[in-house]
């Protein structure tokens, strides 16, 4: 009995440990973001002050609102284009048998695991050639390299699990593949599209390397780059309060979305085995 109780206690201690370590850094960022002035440099474990100074400063001075708009625009357009291209492609990859399909699927998987630095100099040349350097188009274009392969991959795994019967009737009626996609598959695919779109959105929202390389002015940057480069009045003064406020602003929507859609996200992640 005693042994059983010890085991139970140990298990719950482990559970509490996991939850504490997962959440504490974000909790600490939130309480830091509400501190201003010298309070910032006192170490407190509990919320001690509630000042919105950091938030007003981040949102009214500098280019942070603009960076937020950039990120929102870029991530949304990237999701829209990827889904559009991926739906038709994954129909072909999952429902039609043709030569070279396995090789194609494997290539797509390989591209999704690509080290982005390996294409950086070639992409840089292309971005300059197209004349889109330092514009949102450069990022929308380059983000396709990671959103497209993995949306195709996840939608393909989803679509091939759909029963053949639903398609057969349409084929017998003489429906064209395009009609089959839009009238038969699309209505069934909303859950998968939401999950995939959300994962692609998060990936585009968080991207750093391309955003750092293909934009060069405060007004064209996305939030990750803006936060990384946020600096104070002098080189040696790091505005921790502002950085934490900006971090909370960009993270809260993501955390809320992820918690709302957690079941879908988990199934999407494990189906695609994509990176986080």
């Amino acid at each position: 009995m005693l042994w059983h109780a010890t085991k139970r206690t140990g298990f719950y201690l482990l559970v509490i440990g996991i939850v504490f370590i997962s959440i504490f850094p974000f909790y600490y960022a939130i309480i830091t973001s509400f501190k201003s002035g010298t309070a910032l440099f006192e170490i407190n474990y509990w919320p001690t002050s509630f000042s919105l100074a950091n938030y007003t400063q981040v949102l009214t001075t500098g280019s942070f609102p603009r960076n937020l708009a950039n990120s929102l625009l870029i991530a949304s357009v990237v999701v829209a284009i990827s889904l559009l291209l991926a739906v038709t492609a994954s129909f072909a990859l999952s429902r039609v048998r043709f030569g070279g399909r396995s090789l194609l699927l494997f290539t797509i998987l390989a591209v999704s695991m690509f080290p982005q630095i390996a294409v950086l100099s070639g992409l840089f040349e292309l971005v300059r050639f197209f004349g889109i350097f330092n514009t949102p188009f450069a990022l929308i274009f380059s983000y396709m390299i990671f959103t497209l392969p993995f949306t195709v991959w996840i939608l393909t795994t989803f679509m091939r699990d759909l029963p053949i019967e639903i398609e057969e009737a349409a084929i017998v009626d003489g429906a064209s593949p395009w009609v089959i996609i839009t009238k038969v598959f699309l209505p069934l695919m909303w859950p998968a599209l939401v999950t995939t779109g959300l994962l692609a959105f998060i990936a585009a929202w968080n991207e750093f390397l391309f955003a750092l390389t293909f934009t060069s002015s405060n007004n064209t940057r996305t939030v990750p780059v803006a936060i990384a480069l946020l600096s104070g009045n002098t080189q040696y003064e790091i505005p921790w309060g502002n950085i934490m406020a900006a971090s909370v602003i960009v993270t809260v929507p993501l955390v809320v979305l992820v918690l709302i859609f957690q079941r879908k996200i988990i199934s999407g992640l494990t189906a695609g085995g994509v990176k986080g």
Partner: protein
């Protein structure tokens, strides 16, 4: 990649005209996606490899001229008879960044696998509040890498950081440590943040594997009185292995290309400079565009070799995870 064979049967019985029409439209549907991937991935990859054999500079890419393998290794014999070796393959800074990357990747993936397995086993057990734990571990995953780097940089701050404060109170350290600046602890700091951020992903992939194991196997083991540790090594581990192998290779490839966390958390620290950081810094900060391209090409080669060896040696089956 076995895909429902039933489709074939349907296709063949429906007549070959229809089948041909389906294949035609399949390629039509695939073309836009393939064109985009070719332009955004294929072509830039080839150009990057090409640049590594030229003397291209950032300010004048167009004037790039072929120089053969000079960026990788060039051997010059001086009049005095001295031989000078130059290039990436004899650059100690490059090899240092290769070593940093490999060390980081191996340590982080091993620890993430072990901790991820623990978390997955916890989540696989039935207890009250399981939903809360699962939601909690999604938080680190949802936080952007740059944000987590900044959050941890603040917690690891030498003067005002809470980590030093906790450790001082617990008596584990006697004076404050400059975690991200100190050469001895910089890698530790990076590992800490990376493990915190990516273990949830590992745990969820392993959990998916665990949930595919039928419950009656455990029942049988319990009735036979097999020790739980033995059950784990003899039953759970072999059955979850396919999912685990896929999770490990995904994490490994991700770790080997790490850039953002290190760029933000321990900028300019020689102890944590990875291959990606080395390549980007040469490409855009040092105006050694061709040399940086050579570094990124090498990185690509190294990753490809590791992946191929892993898939062959580990007999990885990408379908195994599901």
């Amino acid at each position: 990649m076995a895909i429902a064979e039933t489709i074939d049967v349907a296709e063949k019985s429906a007549g070959s005209d229809l089948f041909r029409q389906r294949v035609r439209s399949a390629w039509l549907f695939l073309t836009p996606m393939l064109v985009v991937l070719a332009v955004v991935a294929g072509w830039p990859l080839l150009r990057s490899i090409y640049f590594s054999f030229t003397n291209a500079s950032l300010t004048n890419i167009e004037a790039a001229q072929w120089v053969g393998f000079d960026n990788y290794l060039s051997i010059t014999t001086l009049k005095s008879g001295r031989v000078i070796y130059d290039g990436l393959l004899v650059d100690p800074l490059w090899w240092k960044s290769v070593w940093n990357t490999v060390r980081f990747s191996v340590v982080s993936v091993i620890l993430e696998t072990i901790i991820g397995m623990m978390v997955a086993l916890v989540l696989n057990a039935e207890f009250r509040g399981r939903g809360i734990v699962r939601a909690a571990i999604l938080v680190p995953w949802a936080i952007p890498t740059i944000v987590s780097a900044k959050m941890w940089a603040w917690m690891l701050n030498d003067q005002f950081g809470i980590i030093n404060d906790i450790l001082l109170h617990l008596g584990l350290i006697s004076q404050k440590i400059a975690w991200t600046a100190n050469p001895d602890t910089a890698m530790l700091a990076v590992l800490m943040v990376d493990i915190w951020k990516t273990t949830p992903f590992m745990a969820l992939l392993i959990l998916a594997g665990l949930q595919m194991i039928p419950g009656d196997i455990y029942e049988a083991a319990k009735i036979d009185g097999v020790h739980p540790v033995k059950v784990f090594f003899k039953v759970t581990l072999p059955l979850v292995r396919p999912a685990l192998m896929v999770a490990i290779i995904f994490r490994m490839l991700d770790a080997l290309r790490i850039f953002d966390l290190i760029y933000v958390l321990t900028a300019n620290n020689a102890q944590t400079k990875t291959m990606s950081v080395f390549a980007r810094e040469n490409l855009f900060d040092f105006d050694k565009f061709a040399y940086g391209s050579a570094a990124s090409t090498m990185l690509f080669l190294i990753l490809t070799v590791i992946t191929v060896v892993y898939i062959i040696v580990g007999k990885v089956n990408f379908e195994g995870g599901r």
